[in-house]
């Protein structure tokens, strides 16, 4: 599902035809919009077995307890944000886990917070995507250091982001960048500027990075 063009798109106000060929004569980087139907912040005690099984009952996945890792399954991702904090993203319009989590974990010392309206997610892919992101970020994005299954909260062009590498079967890597939606316009414009040397395009019907 592509939501570009809707007033809720993080690409509103950006000229999506503004592709730009780089020095090599092609597009080294592409951006796409990744549609997420639900963002849920979950807090709880990961040493409490009832908490872990309660989450697993709803999501079908085991919560990642290793720092900076992500677990994905069938359109649902669980990102480690802190020792007692996770972010769930749901990419299936027909699925909602918010209420199910609250029901499943009732009675425990937890917090389930709906962040759906406040976040946006976009993908940065292409041959030069790592170089362009590195221009704005101090994190080591090399595949050896930032492998499949990892994620990291960091600063990208002065914005707080959560970056998740999604390796495709071809071996190419799409970086999923999660940012507060009020920062999304700034961040995309910054990356477009940074990508001028390598060339960039928007791929609006491509949901690469989807599970």
């Amino acid at each position: 599902m592509t939501i570009s063009g809707s007033k809720h798109s993080q690409f509103v106000g950006i000229d999506l035809d503004a592709s730009f060929k780089g020095i090599a004569g092609d597009y080294g980087v592409w951006f796409n919009e990744i549609s997420v139907t639900e963002f849920v912040n979950l807090r709880g005690d990961s040493t409490h077995s009832g908490f872990l099984t309660g989450v697993q009952r709803v999501t079908g996945v085991e919560l990642p307890v290793i720092p900076n890792t992500v677990v994905r399954s069938g359109g649902l991702s669980c990102h480690w944000l802190g020792p007692d904090e996770w972010l769930m993203t749901v990419k299936k319009p027909e699925v909602s886990i918010m209420q199910d989590l609250e029901d499943s974990l009732s009675g425990l010392h937890i917090a389930v917070t709906d962040l759906t309206g406040g976040q946006s997610l976009f993908g940065v892919g292409g041959r030069q995507s790592r170089d362009v992101l590195s221009a704005a970020c101090t994190l080591d994005l090399h595949a050896d250091a930032f492998a499949q299954g990892s994620c990291a909260q960091t600063i990208l062009a002065h914005s707080n982001v959560l970056i998740t590498p999604a390796f495709q079967s071809s071996g190419d890597c799409v970086f999923e960048v999660l940012v507060r939606r009020s920062y999304a316009d700034h961040l995309i414009r910054w990356l477009m500027d940074a990508a001028h040397e390598d060339g960039f395009e928007f791929r609006l019907d491509d949901n690469s990075g989807l599970d």
């Binding site: 720092p67 944000l81 802190g82 020792p83 904090e85 101090t138 994190l139 909260q153 960091t154 600063i155």
Partner: protein, 94 residues
């Protein structure tokens, strides 16, 4: 620019962190019984150590957890990091 080891996330750039001043300052159990001088001492007076210094940092742009670090205030070398609630390498309890 420092590279700081977050106890949770590992080595990250200093720009992701916020500084929280001296660590291991214990809030008085019965503040109402303190003299003004002692209360002022608790609130405002800090060691300003030259050399090894236990201090608080927060990984603001990462996992958002507070932790303690032992840093040499002359060389800026961070000698150890440890989680809140853990004993410092120099044996200061929590």
């Amino acid at each position: 620019m420092l590279s700081i080891d977050c106890p949770w996330c590992g080595s990250r750039d200093q720009s992701e962190f916020s500084y929280g001043g001296e660590a291991h300052i214990v809030r008085p159990k019965e503040p109402e019984k303190l003299s003004d001088e002692d209360w002022g001492d608790y609130l405002f007076n800090r060691k300003n150590t030259k050399g090894r210094f236990e201090e608080q940092w927060c990984h603001t742009a990462g996992c958002r957890r507070w932790f303690n670090a032992v840093r040499d205030s002359q060389s800026y070398k961070i000698e150890a990091v440890y989680k809140i609630g853990e004993q410092s390498p120099d044996g200061i309890p929590e």
